[in-house]
Symmetry: C2
Subunit: 102 residues, 2 copies
């Protein structure tokens, strides 16, 4: 048990627009055009965010002709879920574990 959460992934998901993108991609696999429609953001802006999500290993790209589809990698989300569950369990166990005042 490591009882910690990957700071990089959380940091990437900390941006509201990126979290929105992830939520959308959890429902269906979409390409940039769809995401532009859904979010109202500019294509450039979206492409930048997709790059961040890709480099963080949160999404995968699947070229389809001249379109680029983005698919969520569920393992990442599952990992986060487990890490937070561990943290929660640890926090519950350590509730009364007070370090003495110096």
């Amino acid at each position: 048990m490591l009882t910690s959460v990957d700071p990089d992934v959380i940091r990437v998901l900390g941006d509201p627009l990126r979290l929105r993108i992830v939520t959308l991609l959890a429902r269906e696999t979409l390409c940039t055009t769809h995401l532009v429609e859904e979010t109202g953001a500019r294509q450039t802006n979206l492409s930048n965010h997709m790059k961040v999500l890709r480099e963080a290993g949160i999404v995968e790209t699947e070229p389809c002709g001249r379109y680029t589809y983005y698919r969520l990698k569920p393992e990442i989300l599952t990992g986060l879920s487990e890490q937070f569950a561990e943290l929660a369990a640890s926090a519950r166990a350590a509730a009364e574990n007070k370090r003495a005042c110096p």
Copy 2:
């Protein structure tokens, strides 16, 4: 099933120092002095972060003499864990659910 994650909580945890603080508090209940020692951050800086964590409902304060102890609220972490688990499940189910190119 809402299949989304609270953006505010994630945003707050997106900061590396705050995530570190949460990780430390998952092991034991600490006061500001302890956190200063553990993280090496200045007291002012830490106090600011604790205010953010408090306002986000992630930690609770427990005054003890002139010390202030901080305790994690495990429900928040449990909620996050469940929300990410939902997202992961939804992502797995929607893997082949591609929207047609316009």
